[in-house]
């Protein structure tokens, strides 16, 4: 039995996904929520690369990982710009207090 198998990669990305999910749900700070989302996207990209290596045997899955990384970078830029705008206006980035749009 080889340690470097697809099941190791799936296990690592599963743990990353669940820690990211826990972080994104449980944090009050917007930056903390954002870190959780980054972890989730990271684990998704890792899964694509793992299936590309072990199941497909070609590089197309890695391409999807690259697209995920591009989207994560775009999301980071927009999220942090929004965060700065919110902070300038409210001088607070607690996500629980941002309920002005709640119906």
């Amino acid at each position: 039995m080889n340690i470097i198998s697809i099941h190791s990669f799936l296990g690592v990305s599963l743990i990353l996904f669940l820690t990211g999910l826990f972080t994104a749900i449980s944090r009050k700070n917007i930056i903390g929520i954002f870190m959780g989302i980054e972890l989730i996207l990271n684990s998704a990209a890792l899964n694509f690369a793992a299936f590309s290596r072990f199941s497909a045997g070609n590089a197309e899955g890695q391409l999807f990982s690259i697209f995920i990384i591009v989207l994560a970078a775009a999301e980071a830029a927009i999220a942090l710009a929004l965060l700065l705008a919110v902070y300038k206006r409210r001088s607070d980035i607690d996500a629980d207090k941002l309920n002005k749009l709640r119906g």
């Binding site: 449980s26 072990f54 890695q62 970078a73 710009a81």
Partner: protein, 172 residues
Amino acid sequence: MDIGIKEVVFLVVIALTVVPGFLVAFSRNILYSAFALFFTFLGTAGLYLFLDADFLAIVQLLIYIGGVLVLLLFAILLTRNIDNMKRTNALSIRRAALAGIGAVLLFGVLLAAFISYEWVRPGAEHASSPAVTVNELGSLLLSTYLLPFEVASILLLAVLIGSLVIAGRSVR
């Protein structure tokens, strides 16, 4: 089961990825979470190297560590004073309990699903990958996946302008 130097390095890289992940989830200090995220991204880049994805590892280093993480640290430094840093990363206890239960349940279900199926296509596990994936990725990107590539470039342009508009208005 034979454990050579490669397997040892693999386990170290896995530990480098997973342990800081828990630190991101449970640290009370958001700056420590950001630094832990650095090690998680670094470990993921190492895992990409084990997957014969050299270009992906470099991209991970460049964009995640060089871009996203630096942006994140700037956001932390711009929004919070250092003196109340200790209280910036509060957990909502009720949601944390719910999320913990959900995460453990999901862990069991997904792990059972992962190990109950043999994902490896016969022959793919020991297939020799090309030593450099950049050629293959580049030709795929400009032939089959040309439309997503162009859409991604438009998206990046929109993000560039949009983040300037959103953050620039608040600074002025």
